[in-house]
Amino acid sequence: MTDKKIAVKMRDISKSFGPVMANDKVWLDIYKGEILALLGENGSGKTTLMNILSGIYCPDEGHIYINDEEVSIRSPKEAFEYGIGMIHQHYKLVEVLTAAENIILGVKQPGKLDIQAVCERTRQLCSDYGFELDPMQKVYDMSVSQKQTVEILKALYRGADILILDEPTAVLTPQETEKLFTILRNMRDSGKAIVIITHKMNEVEELSDRVAILRQGRFVGDMLTSMTNAQEMTNMLVGHPVSLSIDRPDPVDPKPRIEVNGLTVRNEEGVLKLEDVSFTAYSGEILGIAGISGSGQKELLEAIAGLQPTESGSISYINDDGSKEELIGKDPLSIANMGVTLSFVPEDRLGMGLVGNMDISANMMLRSFRSGRSAFLNRKDPRRLAERVVEELEVVTPSVATPVRKLSGGNIQKILVGREISSAPKVLLTAYAVRGLDTNSSYTIYDLINKQKMNGVAVIYVGEDLDVLLELSDRILVLCDGKVSGIVEGRKAEKNSIGLMMTKLGGTG
């Protein structure tokens, strides 16, 4: 390690968003000619830290040294000038322009635009590092991996020496991933510093030279990849269990409610998101679903709710008398009428389920307007419901007539979850119900979910926090890359074994 030159030193970096400390006095060293894997759970502050380095966020405190000189990076443009290029998860490309035009965008160069020269240099870069790309191809014609190539070339064209990739493999097929890794190794060998943000253990082991681990915004440690193993990294990643005590009443009269058999789903890009998933959810129990984000949780819930086209397999709803009804092929409305409700909290909370410009009671009405008998809307009940949700979940809002858009994220979420739970479902599908909520409101939500369970509802709970999953769920289904890695009893499960199952199928080896 001593012969390696240091490229970036980050010292005591802190950044908070409101009351949440995203980074708390983080240290990080990035060396030239080395691939560093930045490892951490969701919300552990990896992306925030790298956004600070690439000029998107300003740190609240701390120092950044590049080539042993202290710098302050205030914008992406300044980051470029220090040779830092970041490839975000969401690509920033203009679709109707060609690859070359996207690459040259914003680069100052004298005189007339010579697109041929740009193409020439792009081709040169391609052959240097082993990319395959036609510079004259329009971006909208490109596959996801080609778009990623354009993003990387964009950074290289500007002369980036320090390349940050935020979960670069999340959208790639295994073959494309392999190709990307080869290219990244080429870049490392030519002396560039590379950081990949990931939470896939196998990628860390395969690709990186060194690994740095963040947990809950704090720097846990870094070490050479060759000196460690998946078990040790998982331990560092997960840390010591936080003492939480969530009630877990015994399941009441469990009966099979939803039976999923051999479910296979592809997303729009044709990437396999779920493969041969089978399980049964019982009434009166909470089935927790664990997995790295993007392992197919969203597709699974949406398939059950009828929002996601499936490729093969069956999903049956089992009535109290034991008769089965197939859900695949039914439209979301009739599935919802059977008592299956979905409260999914996506990254943008408003994206699904709430209308930002409507007030709280009108949003409550979105679930109930069909049940009215007269030609006019029933406004009283939704308002009463809105008031109840606001009071019970302690939503901070001037009144129930405030547009949802104006509330803070956590409050929006409470309204969404509150509404879904209050509709007295038979099956409650919920994902990331407590994402971004403070501890207090999280517990309120857990209580609500437990109440539903006691009422005999089959709850499918997708969660990010393993500790909570372990305390709340009766059984835990672990997804790994769209496949069922295993189903374990919640009362007997161990965190480490689940962590391993999340990253490796079956959790062995």
């Binding site: 914008s75 992406p76 443009k77 470029f80 920033k92 490309l93 203009v94 679709e95 109707v96 322009l97 035009e101 040259i104 965008l105 914003g106 160069q109 007339k112 635009l113 329009k138 909208y140």
Partner: protein, 328 residues
Amino acid sequence: MFDITVFFPRAVAQGIPLLFGSTGETLTEKAGNLNLGIPGIMYVGGISGVIGAFLYEQNTSNFNPFLAVLIPFLASLAGSLIMGLIYSFLTITLRANQNVTGLALTTFGVGIGNFFGGSLIKLTGAEVPNISLSATSICFRKNLPFADKFGVFGNMFLKYGFLAYLAIIIALCVSYFLNRTQTGLHLRAVGENPSTADAAGINVTRYKYIATCIGSMIAGLGGLYYVMDYANGIWSNDGFGDRGWLAIALVIFTVWRPTLGILSSILFGGLYILYLYIPSGMNLSLKELYKMIPYVFTVVVLVISSVKNRRENQPPESLGLSFFREDR
């Protein structure tokens, strides 16, 4: 009967204001601003030129043809620049809704034009409700002295005032700028995806402001051409008609390509006056129906072009949307 050598110059004369308008609007829309204030801006461009020319004609003793062109020209540019600045300030800085702002600006521009037009008519104390600036108009309509020597060719292509040629030159320049220069590439990126442009270090606000203002100034020249050249220097209130809306339709018709605009504007100009050449006898109501031709044509073309859905022929992706940096 129908004589192309007579019809063509008339179609061109009708087309030039549309060409100015659509070139200006194309430039504006490429920056992501849908400026529906174009009809009002062209109207203001016209009346500003009239005010300039009127003041010069009234206050000068020795009439200088060069100044007689320059003063209305600059006055017109200044008038439409102010309109462009109003639009930019409202939609870019204050992030007002672009459609509403544009429509309001059209109403405002027409009102301003009629107000000053009416005042000037009062000042001249004329019997007829219009202002005649024939001396200035002659300067604007001056054409090449050797045009007559070229016979039919000269009549068809060389006998226009300088503003007509300027319109074509501007359209070619804008096209070159958009497709062949780095700044043009940046401008297109701003209209397509401002947050990407922002991340690449492009000053989105500045690009939007400049494109909108220059676009307005180009469009305003359409109004000037209409008064000084097409209408022989005679301003009458509401004489400009619906040419501003046709210019906006032309932008869509030409799929945001100013070079196509040169031919299309002449085509539109021809369609606009075609009813004069279709024999309809004494049946005047039929003539009114024929006046619909350019509009029907636009509708038909819009239907056809939206069926043929090529990605390059789509409007700029973030057309009509305000840009918030915090939204990323």
